[in-house]
């Protein structure tokens, strides 16, 4: 019991820390004015110093401010895309488990189809087809990340539907919709929550990698992927900071969210909750 309380406390602390970091980064990204990022060639290519902790890029722009603004863009994409994706996963998973055999087969075929193509390529294709930019990227990521969660939820619903208490509920005169809302959905909440949190780092990394490859956000928008792809040109000139520091910031954010998801899963998962 005590160990559980400890883990709960840890998860809560981690969640609060993460929420603070995310909110802070997000707010800073919104608050930093465009002029603050506008660089001057007098300061081009400076190594990290007290006045520019992340150094400056080849155009003399402060990299810390650009990184923060980039992270906030990435987070917008990440949160929106993982929310949409998890929503699709729940709908599709439930439809597949409850629908007729033909619906189930069709959905499983669709899942195999989407999973059969490497994510990055599919995101690039969709984003490119929709004219890139924020919209293309969002749709691309949201449309490709629901598959494994949908499978999980389908399996969960199938298993729940076989439970005697669901059969009893039906014999007590409850409708399918009532059973879905009162018996099934509450059981799916943990899967949904953990899936949502663990989707977020995926979404951010794909946003960065697709933008890095030039199929995502436009070059004038500060995004981690854009910063990294610009820095490539100057790495050979010894400007290591322009790639390493923004990259490390991205990795840190992703790790933080991933760790949170893992902890939440361990608290909600009955196999590990009592540890």
């Amino acid at each position: 019991m005590r160990a559980l309380a400890n883990r709960r406390a840890r998860v809560l602390a981690l969640a609060i820390l993460l929420a603070a970091v995310l909110a802070g980064v997000y707010a800073l990204g919104l608050l930093i004015p465009e002029e603050a990022i506008a660089g001057s060639y007098l300061q081009a290519g400076q190594a990290p110093s007290l006045s520019h902790p992340f150094g400056t890029d080849a155009l003399g722009r402060d990299l810390l401010l650009r990184t923060l603004k980039g992270l906030s863009t990435s987070m917008t994409v990440g949160i929106a895309a993982s929310l949409i994706s998890a929503g699709i996963a729940v709908l599709v998973g439930i439809a597949s488990a409850i629908g007729s055999r033909r619906v189930d087969a069709g959905i499983n075929w669709g899942i195999d189809l989407v999973m059969g193509v490497p994510h990055t390529i599919l995101v690039m294709l969709i984003s490119f087809a929709l004219g890139r930019g924020l919209k293309g990227l969002l749709v691309g990521i949201a449309a490709t990340h629901w598959c494994s969660l949908a499978r999980l939820i389908r399996a969960e619903v199938l298993q729940l539907r076989g439970q005697p208490y669901v059969a009893v509920s039906r014999k007590l005169g409850k409708s399918s919709a009532w059973i879905l809302v009162h018996h099934l959905l509450p059981h799916l909440m943990p899967q949904f929550l953990v899936g949502l949190i663990l989707l977020f780092p995926h979404a951010i990394l794909h946003e960065a990698s697709v933008s890095f490859l030039g199929f995502g956000l436009p070059p004038e928008q500060p995004a981690i992927g854009i910063i990294l792809s610009e820095s490539m040109r100057y790495l050979s000139a010894g400007q290591w900071w322009s790639a390493v520091l923004p990259g490390a910031a991205l990795v840190l954010l992703v790790l933080l969210v991933d760790r949170l998801g893992e902890q939440v899963r361990r608290v909600l998962d009955p196999w590990s909750a009592q540890e």
Partner: protein
């Protein structure tokens, strides 16, 4: 006024062996029938068929001469062998009882259900305590026929006696039709007005 199975045959899947072949059974209201058979003869299957959980491949399940209603509270309620599976583990027990429509105080008293249990979760109660809730839920639903599928097999003697006493009293007072599936000849003799061998 009876629940009856007429020449019922059933098998699981399309090619499986027949679990039940040409079985007929009749339970009148106010009658307590013990269904008695060794393992693997399809006792539970017959219980599922009579309560409308499954449909026979041939033959009919008739309630007062008509097929069982598809919607609404089923007038034949099945009490399962394993109470912990027949109760949603995420629900407090008050909600479990409320699912049947209404909570009747006198049923709870007769079954020895304590008020404090209503606010607990299923994992906080023992199997015997949970089975009382399953019985209470079936009684509260107002169904005139109850199918009891080995409901006391895994319970201690005192709990068995308490549950059966409450059930027999309720059956007497409301002239319920009971079909008790059991392995135990002594129990069958004690509770039933008639014994049927499958």
């Amino acid at each position: 006024m009876a629940l009856e199975a007429k020449n019922v045959s059933f098998r699981y899947g399309r090619r499986g062996p027949f679990v039940l072949e040409d079985v007929s059974l009749r339970v009148e209201r106010g009658e307590r029938v013990a269904l008695f058979a060794p393992s693997g003869r399809g006792k539970t299957t017959l219980a599922l068929l009579l309560a409308g959980y499954a449909r026979p491949q041939s033959g009919q399940i008739l309630l007062e001469g008509k097929p069982l209603p598809e919607t609404g509270v089923c007038p034949v309620q099945l009490i399962w062998q394993h109470p912990e599976k027949a109760i949603n583990p995420r629900w407090r027990l008050r909600r479990v009882l409320e699912e049947s429509g209404a909570i009747h105080e006198e049923d709870l008293v007769a079954l020895g259900i304590e008020r404090a249990w209503l606010d607990r979760f299923p994992r906080e109660l023992s199997g015997g305590e949970l089975q009382r809730f399953c019985v209470a839920r079936a009684l509260c639903s107002g169904a005139p026929y109850l199918i009891l599928d080995e409901i006391s097999t895994m319970l201690d003697g005192i709990t068995q006696a308490q549950i059966w006493n409450a059930l027999l009293e309720a059956a007497e007072a409301r002239s319920l039709g009971l079909l008790a599936v059991t392995h135990n000849p002594a129990l069958a003799q004690r509770i039933a007005t008639r014994t049927v061998e499958l």
